[in-house]
């Protein structure tokens, strides 16, 4: 029970706290609409409020209420936070000229009373100019010095609704640089006195001008085109909220207005400019520092330089320091960020790479930038540094025998010339057709391509021959006989008489058997000789000689006669030659 009471109390406290913490604002927005005024009471809250809320409105003394209150509500979400807006709008007609007061309205909610502010307006009757719109060009200053930023604003003073507009370009830029500022996509209205009266006013476009020469500069007139709806709607917070939600029937009219020509009297920069002044005008700050103050020879330092402020940042010079001999300046990279919101401001950051070449105490000289500050109307010198750098001996120079790191400098080019002629007469070659177009090359290539085909044919023939042993015997008979004769000679010389004589017989008889295609077994040399003689293949002298050889060989082999046997191999060789000549047509 006690817990329930505690939780209930806690919830109530939280609820009240929530109510108390809920941000609620109650305001009066007043805008002139021609000869009428629009009074809009706006209640803003970050939580949803009941729909039946109704403030206590003032009595609008001095005004006649033409219409109202027209109620409206809206929800908007910004960065995930919802905000609610409830409005009550009256259209009021002043009943007399002079100062008129609208008292505050009050609203009770959550045990609190919220009050809008009271407003006093001065009504002098219908607009003196007879116009509901004035398109005006306004200069931030009309007597700038050379290089000073001048803001040119295009403003619209209005007492009527505007559903769209277009501001034309500045047609001439003689004598100044013009930098457009950020585009105003949703102009905000406010109240301002103009020509002795209160007007609604909004800035439509802004341009930053930088005069480049002294004297009188004329800025040409700029034309603006405005679209005015015929059928106004009531429930709006800004006069420009309707830009993209026009009357569905497009009932509007266009009005073109031009600004007056503006004149700038550009003053020269005052005398006494400091040394090194290069014409930089603006409000700037300079910050710079090296990333380290101690390093080894051969290593690099980065000098970070930051210039920030207002002015023409594009004209800022590159700032590079003077260095002592042991330091070498390398590349400098810079980056400029320009903010164009309401004026030209921004920052330029530089990164300068410096390489330590020699050990010892080295110096990075001070950075110095003289500028003219137009707001203070004086010259200033922006300065950073100098810095002393301690350079320790590097790795390479610590090793004995190595050359110290030199004072290398960039190579200066004076110009460029073509390369010198080539002196190589031995490279001369006769101009001839390329090799691949020559006949010998093509013929060789064709021959090489055909060669495998020929080899294939030859191979097949060879295979065919090898497949016929009779033909092979016939073809190789002479070769085989010669081989046997050599073996016989060797055997005889080695004392193997019997074997040698057998081989002699084999040689001649084998030859004849192979040539004649006969079986060797049972073949007798004398018989074959007579047969060949009978066929007319052997001449009688050769036949006689063969018979004689056969007889002597038989005597030597079977009777053991040694008479003349040593001449037998040579005689057999001679006979083989003669036989081959007779049977194969060879020369003996």
């Amino acid at each position: 029970m006690r817990d329930r009471v505690f939780i209930s109390l806690l919830l109530m406290v939280l609820l009240f706290a929530g109510q108390a913490l809920a941000a609620v604002e109650f305001q009066l927005e007043l805008q002139r609409q021609g000869s009428h005024f629009e009074a809009r009471f706006v209640l803003s809250s970050d939580e949803r409020l009941p729909q039946n809320l109704r403030p206590d409105f003032p009595d609008f003394k001095g005004f006649r209420v033409l219409s109202g209150p027209a109620t409206g509500s809206s929800l908007s979400i910004d960065n995930g936070r919802a905000s609610y807006e409830y409005s009550w709008t009256f259209l009021l007609a002043p009943q007399s000229r002079g100062r008129l007061r609208i008292d505050s309205a009050s609203l009770k909610y959550g045990g609190r009373t919220y009050r809008s502010q009271a407003r006093t307006v001065e009504y002098k009757g219908p607009s003196a100019s007879g116009q509901d719109l004035h398109f005006v060009a306004e200069l931030s200053t009309d007597r700038p010095v050379v290089g000073e930023m001048v803001l040119l604003r295009f403003k619209i003073y209005y007492n009527t609704r505007i559903s769209g507009y277009d501001v034309g370009p500045l047609t001439s830029s003689s004598g100044f640089l013009a930098e457009p500022l950020q585009e105003i996509s949703n102009p905000r209205g406010s109240t301002e006195r103009y020509l002795g009266e209160d007007w609604n006013v909004a800035v439509l476009k802004e341009i930053a001008l930088f005069p480049t020469r002294e004297g009188e500069l004329r800025l040409p007139s700029v034309t603006g085109t405005f679209r005015l709806p015929d059928n106004s709607r009531r429930q709006r917070r800004s006069l420009f909220d309707d830009f993209f939600s026009n009357d569905p029937f497009n009932r509007s009219r266009q009005l073109q207005l031009a600004t007056e020509e503006q004149v700038l009297q550009v003053q020269p920069l005052p005398s006494g400019a400091p040394e090194g002044f290069s014409g930089v005008v603006g409000r700037y700050e300079l910050q710079a520092s090296p990333d380290k103050l101690e390093l080894k020879a051969g290593e690099a330092i980065t000098l970070q330089v930051l210039l920030k402020g207002e002015g023409n940042l594009d004209l800022l010079p590159l700032l590079e320091p003077q260095l002592s001999d042991g330091l070498e300046l390398y590349d400098t990279q810079q980056e400029t960020e320009i903010n164009r919101r309401g004026k030209i401001a921004g920052r330029r950051s530089q990164q300068t790479l410096i390489v330590a070449r020699e050990s010892g105490r080295q110096q990075i000289g001070a950075l110095r930038l003289p500028v003219f500050d137009p707001q203070a109307d004086q010259y200033r010198i922006l300065q950073a540094g100098p810095w002393e750098i301690k350079v320790l001996p590097g790795e390479a120079s610590a090793v004995e025998g190595l050359a110290p790191i030199g004072r290398a400098r960039g190579v200066t080019s004076y110009g460029e010339d073509i390369r010198h002629i080539l002196d190589a007469p031995e490279q001369l070659e006769a101009l001839r057709a390329p090799l691949h177009r020559s006949l010998p090359w093509r013929a060789s290539l064709a021959g090489l391509v055909l060669l495998p085909a020929l080899a294939h044919v030859a191979g097949r023939r060879r295979q065919a021959h090898e497949a016929d042993p009779q033909a092979r015997r016939y073809r190789e008979a002479g070769k085989l006989a010669k081989r046997r004769l050599q073996a016989a000679q060797k055997a005889l010389a080695g004392g193997q008489r019997e074997e040698g004589l057998r081989l002699l017989d084999e040689a001649l008889l084998g030859y004849l058997a192979d040539r004649l295609g006969r079986e060797r077994g049972g073949l007798i040399l004398a018989e074959v000789t007579r047969e060949l003689q009978g066929q007319g293949q052997l001449e009688s002298a050769l036949a006689e000689e063969l018979l004689d050889f056969s007889k002597r060989l038989d005597l030597a082999r079977f009777a053991g006669s040694a008479d003349g046997s040593e001449q037998l191999p040579e005689q057999a060789l001679g006979l083989l030659g003669q036989l081959r000549a007779a049977l194969e047509g060879r020369k003996a």
Partner: protein
């Protein structure tokens, strides 16, 4: 027969020695600032049928020194046909490009194509042709020995030789064919007249299209007699009258 060949060789070596002397004479004239003399010596060699990177390159230099930018570029371009990646030639052509009046933006090209170009032109055509012949010879001999059904025909080395020769031969044949095709398709001409107006047709009274100035190199589209149809990198084409441009030949 031997005497005949010896005589021919002797005669050739004599001619070669004379040519080398003329080349050297041109070099000396150039070094002495006598560019006319240098041109006469070197062009004499060209007329005699000599060619080569050094000869063409030197002629380009001499023409350049004479202030004839178009002729200089033409000779350097000829030298580049012999050695496409010679640093001297390329440097001189770069310098000439900086002096030319016509600024023609080359068509954008991938780095990959440059690398392939280098590969393609890394060997001169004659060397490719010779290599191709040797590769085919290797493949052909190995294959022939295999097909001849000899006792050693089945040895693996013959199979390896056949494949190696055939693969190498195919690669070299491809490179050679590409070189020939690229060279034939990318024929260039150099404007040698100080200024020349390209016309819409190869007729004297044809409509004038645009002007070009000496040293500008363009692609040759086609010919009609002595008229050349030239194509700019942006695709525009026009006919160049005789004498206005010279085609770059090897």
């Amino acid at each position: 027969m031997r005497t005949f060949f010896t005589g021919i060789l002797l005669l050739l070596s004599v001619f070669r020695a004379i040519a080398a002397e003329d080349f050297e004479a041109g070099n000396q004239a150039y070094s002495a600032g006598d560019y006319d003399g240098a041109i006469a010596a070197w062009e004499g060699l060209v007329d005699e049928g000599y060619a080569g990177l050094e000869l063409y390159y030197n002629l380009g230099n001499a023409r350049f020194r004479q202030g004839e930018l178009g002729e200089a570029v033409w000779w350097w371009k000829r030298a580049a046909l012999h050695a496409p990646f010679d640093r001297d030639v390329r440097k001189n052509l770069e310098i000439a490009a900086g002096l030319q009046e016509d600024r023609l933006e080359p068509a954008p090209r991938l780095a990959l194509w440059d690398a392939l170009d280098r590969l393609l032109w890394s060997l001169p055509p004659n060397m490719l042709a010779l290599g191709l012949l040797l590769a085919v010879a290797l493949a052909s001999l190995c294959l022939s020995l295999r097909l001849a059904r000899l006792s050693f025909s089945s040895r693996p080395i013959l199979l390896a030789g056949t494949w190696t020769g055939a693969s190498l031969g195919l690669l070299l044949l491809l490179l050679l064919a590409l070189q020939v095709r690229v060279r034939e398709q990318n024929r260039e001409a150099v404007i040698v007249a100080p200024q020349v107006t390209l016309l819409g047709a190869p007729l004297v009274d044809a409509e004038a299209l645009f002007d070009l100035h000496e040293g500008t190199t363009l692609a040759v589209d086609r010919r009609s007699g002595e008229w050349l149809s030239l194509r700019l990198p942006d695709g525009r084409e026009g006919w160049c009258p005789p004498g206005g441009a010279k085609v770059v030949e090897p």
